[in-house]
């Protein structure tokens, strides 16, 4: 029984933290956030991330990657959350996971290498305007020739992505991949497509959002040519959503822990009524409850990432638990961060709102609590005999 990060994983976390402290602290984040017309994708940070190999964390070694698992990726995601780091890292990792799992050898060779070294920015476009995460929320159709029509909304960094993995419904579900015979899932009329930003029929428009640390864009596709990932099907989409949920949960857990730690630090110093605010019991007990919640969310993300890596039978449950617990912990911790900073916590010039808004966005990303809790009910209520 070893339920903890390895020494290597802890060292990785330390490295990420140190790099961010050194080269992309909250002042740098603020510069990105305040530059509202900018693309929100700081090139120097991206280079540094590429050099560190963090883009290739889940890229197989035969494509030059680190060949590690989601457990390792969540270490990075958590630190990026704690640093409210801008940029398409998570989007790129997810796109890579789809290509790795469902792409042809040629597609994998063409995408994974450049992606891993930072040459290709990528992202995933999985839902339409107003749609949820899942097959029902897709608003892009593919025709038999692989041309895509429709729209996707809230796509992270589509405006700077070279390659976009697009989920599309398919009129005639293609047979399970003839060559590979992966035998995954039952098809079901959903496929993943590799789309290049520069192709004809691709319109990308920036969308105004609440979280300045992460930029979003809408895709409008009119007969845009794209390459199907041959292994993809409904199960592939589900897998991508699971991974997305775990990375979002990890980011949230990082946000939550940082929000809590910064609040503790601030209220240890801040004096009201002649005492440090942190010595008032009502506040202290609330922060203690938040510590418990954040700790549980940290565990849950660890377990979910491991369960996916190891294909454990309770992986679906673990992912839903991790995302809903991370949602709750981060929502509560960032709201408390605003409240317990007093007036300053509500200002633009203080960093508090980066955490609060990033949490708001991520809580709904890759499934909100409503959706994950119903999933838990399906797995634990409907299965009781």
């Amino acid at each position: 029984m070893y339920f903890a990060l390895t020494d290597e994983q802890r060292a990785l976390a330390e490295t990420v933290r140190a790099l961010l402290a050194d080269r992309f602290d909250l002042r740098a984040v603020r510069a990105v956030v305040d530059d509202e017309r900018g693309d929100g994708h700081p090139a120097d940070l991206w280079r540094a991330i590429g050099e560190q190999g963090w883009l290739s964390v889940c890229v197989p070694q035969e494509h030059g990657g680190l060949g590690l698992g989601l457990l390792d990726a969540q270490v990075i995601a958590r630190e990026f959350g704690a640093g409210v780091v801008p940029g398409p890292w998570a989007a790129t990792v997810l796109a890579g996971a789809a290509v790795r799992r469902d792409g042809s050898p040629e597609q994998a060779a063409a995408v994974l290498g450049p992606l891993g070294v930072g040459e290709l920015v990528s992202t995933v476009a999985l839902r339409g305007p107003g749609g949820g995460f899942g097959p029902g929320g897709i608003a892009v159709r593919a025709d038999a020739a692989g041309r895509l029509d429709g729209a996707a909304s809230g796509v992270e960094y589509a405006h700077v992505a070279d390659v976009i993995v697009v989920a599309a419904t398919e009129p005639n579900p293609p047979g399970v991949d003839a060559g590979g015979g992966s035998g995954r899932g039952s098809g079901g009329g959903v496929g993943l497509y590799l789309l290049e930003r520069g192709e004809a029929g691709v319109r990308i428009e920036r969308q105004a959002g609440i979280d300045g640390t992460t930029r979003l864009a809408a895709l409008t596709l009119t007969g845009a040519p794209a390459a199907r990932l041959p292994g993809s099907d409904a199960a592939a989409l589900a897998d991508l959503l699971r991974r997305g949920a775990v990375l979002a949960a990890a980011d949230l857990v990082g946000v939550a822990r940082a929000a809590l730690a910064r609040t503790v630090a601030y209220d240890t110093e801040r004096v009201q009524f002649g005492r440090p605010v942190g010595s008032f019991q009502a506040l202290a007990h609330h922060l203690a409850d938040l510590h418990v919640a954040v700790t549980m969310a940290e565990h849950a993300v660890l377990y979910a990432a491991h369960a996916l890596d190891e294909n454990r039978p309770d992986a679906d449950l673990a992912v839903a638990v991790a995302k809903s617990k991370a949602n709750q912990a981060a929502g509560d911790a960032t709201a408390a961060m605003v409240q317990y900073h007093g007036g300053i916590g509500y200002t633009w010039e203080h960093d508090t709102h980066f955490f609060y808004k990033r949490a708001k966005r991520l809580i709904a990303a890759f499934g909100d609590s409503r959706q994950h809790l119903e999933q838990i009910a399906r797995l634990t209520v409907d299965t009781v005999s």
Binding site: P129, F133, A364
Partner: protein, 392 residues
């Protein structure tokens, strides 16, 4: 139990509604209108409109006629506030003056102060700011450090105020200053009235997390204030401030209820546009929020009943503050939740512009902080209402 208003109050309501119908531009009634107007333009529109309303006789509703008021009842004041909300009138730009300063001047001001302050305020010729909070003295007002030193018949004031609403647009400020050197806590304070345009008074706007800049910081550097510009007596500032704050007695509850139900309906429309108003789980959450809004209405009627009978409300205003701030904040938590993934976007679909609701959602995070944080209000309720022993 009698929830009706007397005939003269209903006549007043009819008169006011007629005037409002003729004087509120149709554009203002479109949800989200004010988020589409620049902050400067919005301020000017609001200032001017409110002036016209005053000239039409709809200001100082429950003030004595001698002060230019209408000589009405608290009920008429509640009707006024509530009908303004219902008609989508903009909020007052002079509310800190109207709600707090004016009744204090009427109670303890000099005859000259009464003349100089009340009339111009009523006609929005002078917009008043409030300068109470300081960095390091938020909930703990008595810890303030801005000080004034007597030099001849003027105080030379130095210090910094924060969270001053309309700091960059107001004309004058009523502010707490330590005028007795070496004094501490509640002693040696005075409430001074300062022109914002005098040399040494500087303003820096504070941008809020919503992006809007209604607040500001005010810096006083050797600002000279005539000793006559003190309200309630030199050294008597704490008592004057407590009197001043006592005029916020939760009487705004009925118009708040009206406003929050408008927001509730707007949120329901968004849920419907996203096809989520039929979701049983979200319906429960919305209903739970509605319960708190209805309770706020009852509390407001309770307060109005007490005020009309001249009863001392005691710590009831803390109950009102906790109820409205948490009901309001909670409503927008449910708003955020029902948006699902659309929460991240200002315009999730072509037809849906959430900018104004989104700004309001951020704004609700502040309402449990200012005006006595929820923590401070709970302490008041615990000690003064429940009589629990004081913590050390």
């Amino acid at each position: 139990m009698d929830l009706s208003y007397p005939p003269e109050a209903e006549e007043f309501r009819a008169e006011l509604c007629t005037w409002l119908a003729a004087n509120i531009p149709a554009a203002w009634t479109v949800p989200g209108f004010w988020a589409t107007v620049g902050e400067d333009e919005a301020f000017d529109l609001r200032r001017d409109w409110e002036r016209r309303k005053a000239l039409a006789g709809f200001a100082g509703i429950d003030w004595p006629v001698e002060y230019g008021g209408r000589g009405g009842t608290p009920a008429m004041r509640a009707i006024h506030d509530s009908e303004l909300v219902r008609a989508h009138a903009p909020r007052s730009v002079n509310s800190l003056g109207l709600v707090f300063l004016a009744p204090t001047v009427m109670a303890v001001g000099t005859p000259r102060q009464k003349v100089e302050i009340i009339g111009p305020m009523l006609r929005n010729e002078v917009i008043w700011c409030q300068g109470f909070s300081e960095p390091g003295a938020g909930s703990d007002l008595a810890a303030l450090r801005t000080h004034g030193v007597l030099d001849g018949d003027e105080y030379v004031v130095n210090g910094q105020k924060v969270w001053t609403t309309f700091a960059g647009r107001g004309d004058r400020i009523f502010t707490m200053v330590r005028t007795e050197p070496g004094s501490s806590r509640h002693r040696g304070l005075s409430l001074l009235l300062i022109d914002m345009g005098v040399p040494g008074a500087q303003v820096r706007p504070i941008r809020q997390m919503s992006g809007v800049s209604e607040f500001g910081e005010v810096f006083f550097t050797d600002v000279r204030v005539p000793a006559s510009q003190c309200l309630g007596g030199i050294g008597n500032g704490w008592a004057t401030a407590m009197l001043l704050l006592s005029f916020e007695r939760g009487a705004a509850g009925i118009s708040q209820y009206t406003a929050y139900v408008q927001a509730y309906d707007e949120i329901v429309r968004v849920a419907r546009a996203l096809g989520r108003d039929g979701d049983p789980v979200l319906r429960q959450e919305l209903a739970r929020r509605r319960v708190e809004l209805e309770c706020l209405h009852y509390q407001a009627m309770h307060v109005l009943t007490e005020v009309e009978r001249g009863h001392d409300l005691g710590a009831a205003s803390s109950v009102t503050k906790l109820q409205w701030s948490q009901a309001y904040q909670g409503l927008f938590e449910t708003f955020d939740e029902l948006l699902g993934a659309e929460v991240a976007l200002l315009r999730p679909t072509v037809d849906l512009d959430l900018t104004a609701l989104r700004q309001e959602s951020f704004w609700t995070r502040s309402v449990t902080i200012w005006g006595g944080s929820s923590q401070v209000q709970r302490t008041i309720v615990a000690e003064r209402v429940l009589g629990l022993p004081r913590g050390s």
